[in-house]
């Protein structure tokens, strides 16, 4: 069985030959980089993923997080992996140099994340969410808040979450009920319950920064009355020192089909005097801000699904090349050597379907990331605008296609292994279970369809008609 992650050559083909990311080097933001730097960064990601993430992928699945005495216990390898990721600088890599980052292009960062996802998707969720939460802080938090929370989220002392879903509201975010009461010092006190919050509690980091959607008392109904708050697990004094424990409690853990080493939490805000929260950006604009994170997360979910599909394929391919079984229809000699199963037409069909789903999905997601890159850094404003619009239109598909067809690829990979694929001795059944999440979170497939047909296409059509 293979121990390789993805395929370096294929990934580099996507990056350098399909997307021509070397062209980014002409943009002033990336003047300090070169291809050798990109390659070294990708190699480092591959090595770290292989040494710190892959080895405990099955263990994290078999020994899922435990809730004991109000605390969460994770297998210790998770912490080692988190530390290695942070220590290598991946949490800070894409940030501005002036904030202490290395201005790594987003598309290179995402390609790095592909290695981590392929190695261990549920441990990778912790840094994945932290990067997203830090981006929100960076983009929308007031300077004082940003200075207090961004640096520790970039160096790995704090992790982050996105807390939208509630026991009563999942798809219908406009109906959330968590409330925020203004306090005298300008902050807020939050009351309510959040559910399914990934990474909502653990002891990987000394603090957890929750990016919470809530409704300020008296806010208008629906999506236009939702604000975004930064709610730390432990309060942080203005000098950056940790203070008292905030009024955020872990009410319980959810027990999942896959993605098990990621804690899925139910969190109670304000069982006492209220959880201290800081408004991020303007009141009632929270959903729009959160959409930045969600759009990024949606590409990330697509990419996660694509890499799990790819990794399933890599395993199935390696197995098919080694497993001798049966003979070709043309062979009449019962004593002749058995062929490797890759020689059977049906096994090839299974493999080629997987390859098409996996490579197509990977390509789509990296393309989406390059559009996000162009929207932000293309020197020509018109090019930037067009990239942004195209990305907006494509995002529901970038999230949904790999999620749906990635699971199918993982399913076909099980088929290639036959009985072995159904056992826990091989990783395939876990890839399948892990990948089954992707059509559900970050907006279900149905919600993506509504977004595409109800909103995005309508807008695009109106625009096209208007232009012609």
């Amino acid at each position: 069985m293979t121990d390789s992650l993805l395929n370096d050559r294929d990934l580099k083909f996507q990056l350098y030959e399909v997307l021509d990311i070397e062209a980014l080097l002409e943009r002033p933001r990336y003047a300090e980089h070169d291809r050798a730097v990109f390659d070294s960064v990708l190699d480092t990601a591959h090595d770290l993923a292989k040494h710190y993430f892959a080895p405990h992928n099955q263990k994290g699945d078999a020994e899922e997080p435990v809730f004991e005495d109000g605390r969460v216990r994770l297998i210790p390898e998770t912490k080692t992996a988190w530390d290695a990721f942070a220590d290598a600088g991946f949490l800070a890599a894409h940030h501005d140099a002036e904030d202490g980052g290395m201005q790594l292009p987003e598309v290179v960062l995402r390609a790095c994340m592909a290695y981590f996802n392929a190695a261990n998707v549920s441990t990778t969720a912790y840094p994945f969410l932290t990067i997203g939460a830090a981006n929100l802080v960076k983009s929308f938090a007031a300077p004082e808040l940003r200075e207090r929370f961004l640096p520790p989220m970039m160096d790995g002392r704090f992790s982050g979450t996105m807390a939208l879903t509630e026991p009563g509201q999942g798809s219908a975010l406009g109906d959330i009920r968590t409330t925020a009461k203004p306090a005298e010092d300008g902050s807020y006190r939050l009351f309510g319950q959040k559910m399914f919050i990934s990474g909502g509690d653990h002891e990987l980091t000394e603090n957890i920064v929750h990016m919470v959607l809530a409704r300020i008392e008296g806010a208008p109904a629906g999506a236009k009355g939702i604000s975004l708050f930064l709610v730390p697990k432990v309060l942080v004094n203005s000098d950056g020192e940790l203070g008292a424990r905030n009024d955020v409690a872990l009410a319980g853990l959810l027990h999942k089909m896959g993605y098990r080493n990621t804690t899925s939490t139910v969190l109670s805000f304000g069982e006492g005097d209220g959880a201290v929260g800081y408004l991020v950006g303007k009141p009632h604009h929270g959903l729009a801000y959160m959409f930045q994170m969600m759009n990024e997360a949606r590409i990330g979910v697509g990419l996660g699904a694509a890499t799990l599909a790819y990794q399933s394929y890599v395993h199935a391919l390696s197995y098919a090349r080694e497993r001798p079984q049966g003979r070709l229809p043309s062979s009449k000699d019962p004593l002749s050597k058995q062929v490797r199963i890759i020689q059977h037409a049906d096994v090839r069909r299974l493999l080629l379907m997987q390859k098409a789903y996996a490579e197509g999905s990977l390509s789509l997601c990296l393309y989406a990331t390059s559009l996000a890159e162009d929207a932000r850094t293309a020197p020509d404003p018109e090019q930037a605008r067009q990239a942004g619009e195209l990305l907006d239109l494509l995002t529901p598909m970038v999230k949904s296609y790999p999620s749906r067809y990635g699971v199918i690829a993982s399913d076909l990979a099980i088929q290639v292994l036959g009985g072995a694929g159904y056992t826990r001795e091989y990783l395939l059944e876990q890839f399948y279970r892990d990948n089954r999440l992707n059509p559900i979170h970050e907006g279900t497939e149905g919600i993506q369809a509504i977004d595409l047909l109800g909103r995005k296409l309508g807008r695009a059509v109106a625009k096209a008609t208007h232009c012609s």
Binding site: S40, A84, A88, G89, L104
Partner: protein
């Protein structure tokens, strides 16, 4: 105190090695290359000595094609201070490599020279020993522990049946074994910083070394596939098989 570390660009240890169709060597086209793992250990040791305040400079030297610059950059990202590439054929013989390194040593005058015990491509395990001999320096090969004194370095080396510890006068040559340390990963900010560190390029001509091959490769082929083992019922049967089937006794 200056340490010189020699690093070689080799086929990555994860790559399944394939023999070229014409049997002249190993396939390296489109194959991932990286730093020889034993050399990573050598570099790690040098960087640790520097971090402990016992060395001022770590110089990373590679002999190979121009792409070996990337290997040196990796070394600089791991903590080397500057690099020297001797641009030459990738398949030089150990004696030639030792002569080239000797010439670099004469230019650089390091106090300590650390190399991997062997490169995983040809597994020669000769360069360090030849170099020590050419320089007339003491050598501690297969090091699993290195402790630096004032003018001496103590090297614990793995030998058949255990370990022995040698005290070497400096300057000295050390070659590293697997257990010496666990090399670090290059951190991303250091990958950027490495770009700015100096890297000089020399040629064998600059160093006055003739790189002509003295050995001739007749043919490269894969080792024969291992045949399945068999259980024997008795010592007698074993002896009988060794004599008549394997014909080794």
């Amino acid at each position: 105190m200056k340490i010189l570390v020699a690093v070689k660009r080799v086929v990555d240890y994860n790559v399944r090695i394939r023999v070229k169709a014409d049997q002249t060597g190993v396939e390296t086209a489109n194959v991932k290359m990286s730093m020889n793992p034993f050399d990573e250990i050598a570099l790690e040791e040098a960087v640790r000595i520097k971090e402990a305040g016992k060395a001022d400079e770590v110089v990373v030297v590679s002999i190979g094609p121009s792409q070996a610059q990337e290997t040196i950059r990796t070394g600089l990202a791991m903590g080397g201070d500057r690099g020297i590439l001797v641009e030459a054929d990738p398949d030089l013989e150990p004696l030639t490599v030792a002569k080239l390194l000797k010439a670099v040593v004469e230019k650089e005058s390091p106090d300590l020279l650390i190399l991997g015990k062997q490169a995983i491509d040809d597994d020669s395990n000769q360069t360090g020993q030849m170099l020590g001999e050419l320089l007339g320096w003491p050598q501690g090969t297969f090091a699993s522990k290195v402790e630096l004194g004032d003018s001496e370095v103590s090297v614990t080396r793995e030998i058949d049946g255990g370990a022995e510890t040698l005290a070497l006068n400096m300057p000295a040559v050390i070659t590293t074994d697997l257990r010496l340390n666990e090399p670090r990963y290059a951190k991303l900010p250091n990958i950027m910083k490495a770009k700015k560190k100096p890297l000089d390029t020399l040629t064998p001509g600059d160093l006055g070394v003739d790189t002509a091959h003295r050995l001739k490769v007749v043919k490269v082929e894969e080792p024969p596939k291992r045949k399945g083992g068999a259980k024997v019922g008795s010592v007698q049967e074993l002896v009988e098989k060794l004599r008549n089937e394997a014909k080794v006794i």
